[in-house]
């Protein structure tokens, strides 16, 4: 009961916020994106122990696939390049169709990539996995910057948001909120099922899990597929929100989004369900504050923040809460004397 009440309150707050504070609609949209980032990273990192620096690969992939689908459905790609910006906006129905098909295509591409890349990359362990995925994310950005079909280094412009769909900020805010909610609920379901225990076992001792006959490869691949799935959709949506895709700074933004994903999950408490959500919220608010008051130096401050959190607060908010109030936050530390237990 308490759980349902808690979720309902949060849902109401989330739905009302953009209406009550219209000037913050875009910021809220970004907040939901950060939540998706943190949750998807944690599914593979905190819950499964595969700390990835390259999940941004799926984000960028999704961004480009959606944009290309949207563009190619209605325009000729060379014409688009030369006239970008001065083309007529699409009618709302076409825009939505393009976006839906684009997001679907993004999700499918991401899952396929996760399976193919995962067959090699998921066999790496620990820091080799981390650095390999780092390479993946950055290489993807650099390679994308050389492909003319998707705009190469000059980037790709996405279709302009048409009139007739309401406020752009509100639309994207709710769209991303929906994505964040679905991601959260799907992960919640997974974590309480056999899947959740399996990936935790892989995290705690993968060799033991293998020695017990667990299909570790299956679980690892599916976890990465789930992560990639939601990231790709997020990427597709963000491409349309931002309006312009730069291969290295927007799409495959390894040094920004890629690192923030990790940081948010750790800040909130990795390996927990709410940890990434909390971490994303705190991080996003902090980032907005930095941007407002430290403009220009906010990236430097973020670098310092990463160091501070990692060194002084690696257990994150949830970790801290669990240590301080173990009974409230999930773990028993005393044995339970039960009737019927014989020694």
């Amino acid at each position: 009961m308490k759980v349902i009440l808690r979720y309902t309150l949060i849902a109401i707050a989330a739905l009302a916020a953009p209406l009550l504070f219209p000037e913050y609609q875009i910021q809220l949209a970004w907040l939901w994106l950060m939540v998706v980032f943190a949750l998807t990273w944690d599914a593979v990192g905190g819950q499964m122990g595969y700390n990835s620096f390259g999940n941004v690969f799926y984000f960028g992939l999704g961004m480009y696939v959606t944009a290309v689908v949207q563009r190619d459905l209605y325009y000729d790609f060379e014409e688009y390049e030369t006239l970008a910006g001065s083309l007529d906006t699409l009618p709302p129905a076409d825009y939505l169709t393009g976006m839906s098909l684009g997001l679907a295509a993004s999700a499918v591409c991401a899952v396929l990539c996760a399976i193919v890349l995962g067959s090699g990359i998921l066999r790496l362990r620990g820091h080799y996995f981390a650095i390999c995925t780092l390479g993946l994310g950055i290489a993807a950005g650099e390679i994308a910057a050389g492909i003319d079909y998707i705009g190469a280094g000059s980037g790709l412009v996405t279709p302009v948001f048409p009139d007739g769909l309401g406020e752009k900020g509100l639309f994207f805010c709710y769209l991303l909120l929906a994505l964040a909610a679905v991601t959260f609920l799907v992960l919640r379901w997974l974590y309480t099922s056999r899947f959740g225990l399996a990936i935790n076992a892989i995290r705690d001792d993968e060799d033991k899990a293998e020695a017990m006959g667990l299909h570790t490869t299956r679980y690892k691949t599916i976890a990465w597929c789930v992560s990639g799935f939601f990231l790709a959709i997020a990427g597709g949506i963000m491409g349309d929100l931002i309006g312009f895709i730069d291969p290295v700074d927007t799409a495959f933004a390894g040094a920004t989004f890629g690192v923030w994903m990790v940081l948010m999950a750790i800040l909130g408490g990795k390996g927990t369900l709410w940890g990434p959500v909390i971490g994303a919220t705190i991080f996003h608010v902090t980032q907005e504050i930095f941007w407002t008051f430290l403009f220009g130096w906010q990236r430097v401050a973020l670098g310092a923040l990463i160091v501070i959190i990692v060194v002084f607060f690696p257990q994150g908010v949830m970790g801290f809460a669990r240590a301080r109030w173990p009974d409230r936050f999930g773990h028993r530390v005393e044995s339970v004397a039960d009737e019927g237990a014989t020694q």
Binding site: I121, G135, A139, E142, I143, G146, G303
Partner: protein, 299 residues
Amino acid sequence: MDNLQILLDAPIFSVQLLIDGLLVGAIFALVAYGMALVWGVMNIINICQGEYVMLGGFITYLLFSWGISPFVGIPVAFVVLYLVGWLTYRVVICRVVEQDLFISILATFGISILLQQLMNQLFTADVQTAEAGLGTAFLFNNMVTVPWVKVVGFVLALSVGVVLVLFMGRSRMGQAIRATAQNARAARIMGIDTDRVYAVTYSINAAICGAAGALVVMTWVVQAFQGLAYTVRSFMIVVVAGIGNLPGVVVAGLGLGAAESYAGFLLGAEFQTAFIFSLLVVILLWRNYRLRAQRKVLR
């Protein structure tokens, strides 16, 4: 890949690419040696390795912009980065040194981002260079040009390497470092101040990178965001050569330099960075594949 035809038609270009690659490869090997040192002794993969190189480059560039010869930058960058390394160790690294490797990767990544962005703020993202004024050698009927500064850079890189190896082999601190690398707890029991060993090791690494950075800005360029590529190069070299394997590091470093040189020519300069990071992925996957055949795992 049209350039491939040029290489086949005029093999002399190959010589140019090879020389360019080997000369810069010595610098890669030097930076990789530093990374292997920190990795072997402290079990830390120093992601801000490339940023130390970049800092060394900017220090030398500053000297150059004040009219001082960039060669002076080599010792100056060495000393300044030694201090930077020491400071970083005391503030951050000493707290993550005996923890989870991932924590240290993330911490050094944070430092890397901090340094990149700091230099971006101070110097903008523009590319800078420092002229050493040494002129160029023309070989093979003017078909191959070798800037003298690159040759000097090659020699200096190898010299620093030799000095380091002598230090590690002959000095007491070097001995202490090697002992700590093999078994930190035993070293402590024998009276070695492992904290000091770690600090010195980390600082020496930073200093090496600083000196390398001075060489880089003279022979090539410095840019606020060039760091990660150097980190990745070092990592690849260490992974391929293995931590204790100094000759391997040298060979791998020279090899990487040559490979990059060819790749830059064949794929185009805009794919140079893509090549480096893609090569990282390929190397890691290939090594793991080979180890799996022996039923081992790349740990």
